[in-house]
């Protein structure tokens, strides 16, 4: 089935089964590999993207359900790493292996778009779906706080 998706402000037409998770359309059909596969059951957050500005797990979102919506991936978050979350991530040096970090950054960006100065419980609630095996959690919290500062500067 032909679907036209709006990805990073660009129309992309793909021919897939409508139930194909958006994750695989992004990665294998379109070649946007910044969004990662981690579990396929929406329990690790490595595939977090924005759909109409909301953080969503692409591995459980049928491509057909994303038609007509604004899809943003890590590649389209700023295009030049200038988003406050990306700036803070570099400043604090958050990533280790980095594999989960696209999802972490997208989840964090959706959070600070909603909450200017998130509290620790708000940060933990917003980020609890995003696993990091390297254990960068402490720096993620630090970087989200820094990103809020940058966003308001």
């Amino acid at each position: 089935m032909q679907l036209t998706l709006n990805i990073n402000n660009k129309p992309e037409t793909v021919d897939v089964e409508p139930e194909t998770p958006l994750l695989w359309v992004l990665r294998d059909n379109i070649g946007l590999t910044g969004t990662k596969y981690g579990c396929g059951i929406a329990r690790c957050g490595a595939c977090t993207i924005h759909v109409d500005g909301q953080a969503m797990k692409a591995c459980q979102l049928p491509a057909s359900a994303a038609v007509g919506k604004r899809i943003t991936t890590i590649e389209g978050l700023s295009g030049n790493s200038s988003h406050p979350v990306q700036q803070a991530w570099v400043e604090i040096g958050v990533p280790q292996c980095g594999y989960c970090q696209s999802g972490q950054i997208m989840a964090a960006a959706a959070l600070i778009a909603k909450r200017k100065n998130p509290t620790l419980p708000e940060i933990e609630a917003a980020m609890a779906d995003n696993l990091c095996r390297c254990g960068t959690y402490q720096r993620i919290v630090q970087a989200i706080r820094r990103a809020s500062e940058i966003a308001q500067a």
């Binding site: 790493s81 594999y99 390297c134 959690y137 402490q138």
Partner: protein
């Protein structure tokens, strides 16, 4: 040399032009620090003159350093670059890095000495030849300038890329070509004195970070090769079972499905990278391949292994605790005799389950077999081993195999020695299909079929003397390794027990290598991670039984060992450890040595009356002798704490019917952000000649410190993991 580099470079460029998506190295221009490209490569993109295998210097002063090691988040690229640059003495901002060519390494008789990245060895063991490469290049540059200026080499100073003698100056770039021809009579010594280092020991931002915030960093799973097809693989759910049949007809009409490929184990070959019986479905996209695989009827034969369970292994392990095992070191018959005659005896048994690596990047590999050349993209901790593995599988000359070094989405010992069967699977399928193939294991396959940390059981018994200190310690441990192998990586079933530092007059340790069909593998801090827990919980039991404060006990029992005293005294000073907190709150300590580094932890916890555990803080104090990059070192220590807490608190693979049953993140739980404690890292460096590793050691003392803290909070002694399955309620 330059000519050869260019011709190989144009080969890669040509293949990109033909196909589009193929990856190759490139570098971010003009950054303020040294750089690494976001994309991997199998061959050099450096421009300039090669001084030695590690170093290429361009006329404009740009220095390209070739990194023979893997970047899996441990800061390996940055550490290698710092070690070479320290001796070469070149401006950090002028440095580019690229991964070294593993094919060249094998072609030229292991030219890079070691390409494997494991065992926290990179800085610890590889620094002599990496610093040596920098020192050698520097001296040859000085010699080239000395010859041109008619002065002695000793009169030439090399600093930040500039050569100076009197009023003559020149850049490294100007003298690179001449330096490449210089033969030194004697290779220079490296500078091991931290007081004289200008670069090492100063915190540096890791070079890979910028590529890990914009989605550009390429992992093996991101490989896209023109004409590539995708394979999803299912091996026998009970490892080493036999594939009896599968019905491809049931799925072959599904969209995009190309083929089903059976993979067979080689009789007698059950090592880490060997193939198991499996079947792969190949399709034009991975999702189509995976969906079809799930729908394809497959029949297996499991044999005796089907009876294995976690509970069964524990029962077998406890039986072994009553039987004599292999004695570690010298046998001390008096240990048991003293215990038998003692008025005060402490004894305890421990259980720890299988754990899995669960790298966030699921197990995968891409291989492209062509008549005259094979290309490999695999998340391996040793590219040269991946080449040999593929060459062996295909029966081709390793010189025709090229490994592309990728960023790893986690390592943790699981990809050690390039040793995963997935690379063989991809090679075999590509050969049979005649196309480049990306094999990706679904997460359930990844957790079920990974090479696991062995399940372990231990029993410890001590006699306590009149002064409250132990007079004898008798210990046994069993672990369940594939076919009962004695060693996993460098560890045996005594590591973490036999090598405790405490001066107990009589000690005897015996180990059992019990058999399982579950593949075994190294796992961040092998051995120490399982049995360090056992001994350090038991230390608290011995100390408390003898009326000692657990931290004072450890200080007393390590008297005369200055490095241990330094670490423990620092822990005491910084942690504020106390045993008199109100019920529901507790602090606990532990100390374990691994990878040449002594690591102590102090955990602070609260436990609600209903048994809800909250780990508030973990303080770790480490002596690795010295620290090369304090920034990356602290990250590694924080990460290791989280790693071990994951297993001890939320993890635990469950074996039922010979197979693992909790194989995704809904049932095999990793630590999440709201469970993560505040981690503080302090380096108490003893200096001297010690070069310890830092990628793993802060893990092992963490779970026993938490277990000991839970004891003070609840009165309950913890002798098994995961804590999530224990009743921690108190009144």
């Amino acid at each position: 040399m330059t000519k050869q580099i260019l011709s190989r470079r144009s080969f890669i460029q040509a293949s990109v032009a033909a196909g589009g998506g193929l990856m190759l190295g490139f570098h971010m221009p003009g950054a303020l620090a040294a750089t690494i490209g976001s994309q991997p490569q199998s061959t050099t993109t450096a421009v300039g003159t090669e001084i030695n295998a590690w170093i290429v210097i361009d006329k404009d002063g740009t220095v390209t350093l070739r990194i023979p090691h893997t970047e899996m988040g441990q800061g390996g690229i940055t550490s290698v670059a710092m070690l070479i640059a320290e001796e070469l003495n070149v401006d950090w901002a002028k440095i580019k890095t690229e991964f070294a060519d593993a094919n060249r390494h094998l072609r030229n008789n292991k030219e890079y000495k070691v390409m494997s990245t494991h065992g926290s060895q990179l800085v610890r063991l590889q620094h002599p030849h990496l610093m040596g490469a920098g020192a050698s290049a520097r001296e040859r540059l000085k010699q080239a300038a000395a010859e041109a200026w008619g002065v002695d080499r000793s009169a030439v100073e090399a600093k930040l890329g500039v050569l100076t003698a009197g009023n003559r100056t020149g850049t490294y770039g100007e003298f690179a070509e001449a330096a490449a021809k210089v033969q030194l009579d004697k290779e220079p010594e490296i500078n091991k004195d931290p007081a004289k280092w200008w670069l090492l020991g100063k915190p540096r931002q890791r070079l890979d970070i910028p590529h890990k915030v914009d989605g550009s960093a390429k992992y093996a799973i991101d490989t896209r090769v023109p004409g590539m097809v995708y394979a999803a693989v299912k091996a026998s759910p009970v490892p080493w079972g036999t594939l009896k049949s599968y019905n491809f007809d049931a799925i072959k009409g599904r969209p995009g499905v190309i083929a089903a490929v059976p993979l067979k184990a080689v009789p007698g070959k059950r090592n880490q990278p060997d193939l198991q019986d499996a079947v792969a479905v190949v399709a034009d996209t991975w999702y189509r391949a995976k969906t079809a695989l799930e729908l394809m009827p497959i029949e297996w034969e499991f044999g005796e292994s089907e009876k294995a369970t976690t509970a069964g292994y524990y029962a077998e392990g406890h039986k072994l605790m009553e039987q004599k095992g292999l004695v570690s070191g010298k046998e001390d018959p008096q240990a048991a005799e003293i215990i038998a005659a003692s008025k005060k005896v402490v004894t305890a048994s421990f259980e720890r389950p299988f754990e899995t690596h669960a790298r966030m990047e699921p197990i995968n590999a891409t291989v492209h077999v062509q008549p005259d050349r094979v290309d490999v993209w695999a998340p391996t901790q040793d590219q040269s081993a991946a080449i040999l593995l593929v060459a062996d599988q295909l029966g081709v000359d390793p010189k025709t195999v090229y490994a592309h070094t990728m960023f790893l989405g986690g390592g943790f010992g699981g990809n050690g020695a390039g040793g995963t069967g997935v690379t063989r699977q991809a090679a075999e399928i590509s050969k049979q299909i005649g196309k480049p193939v990306k094999v990706l294991w679904p997460r359930e396959e990844d957790l079920a079929q990974d090479k696991q940390r062995p399940l372990a059981v231990a029993k410890l018994t001590a006699a306590i003397g009149d002064d409250g200190l132990p007079t004898a310690l008798f210990t046994r441990a069993a672990w369940f390794t594939i076919d009962g192998i004695n060693q996993v990586g460098g560890a045996t079933a005594d590591y973490g027990i036999y090598n405790i530092p405490y001066k107990i007059p009589h000690r005897n340790h015996e180990r059992h290598n019990a058999k399982t069909h579950i593949p075994s593998s190294t796992h961040r801090a092998p051995g120490a991670n399982q049995l360090g827990f056992v001994s350090e919980v038991f230390v608290d039991e011995m100390a408390i039984a003898g009326g000692w404060d657990p931290l004072e006990w450890r200080l007393k029992m390590t008297e005369g060992l200055p490095d241990w005293q330094l670490v423990l005294k620092t822990l005491k000073e910084k942690s504020g450890f106390r045993t008199d907190l109100p019920k529901g709150e507790g602090m606990g300590v532990a100390v374990v040595e691994s990878h040449g580094t002594i690591a102590a932890a102090c955990a602070t916890v609260t436990v609600s009356r209903r048994g809800r555990l909250n780990i508030e803080k973990v303080l770790v104090v480490l002596d690795a002798g010295r620290v090369i990059n304090p920034h990356a070192a602290a990250e590694q220590c924080e990460g290791s704490v989280c790693w071990e807490l994951s297993h001890a608190w939320t993890g635990g693979l469950e074996l039922e019917g010979g197979r693992f049953v909790n194989t995704n993140f809904d049932t095999y739980n990793l630590l999440r952000i709201d469970q993560h404690p505040h981690v503080e890292t302090i380096f108490a460096s003893s200096g001297g000649t010690k070069w310890g590793g830092l990628g793993e050691p802060s893990g092992p003392p963490t779970p026993p410190a938490v277990a000991n803290a839970i004891y003070y909070a609840t009165g309950k002694r913890i002798r098994s993991t995961p804590f999530r399955s224990l009743d921690l309620t108190w009144t």
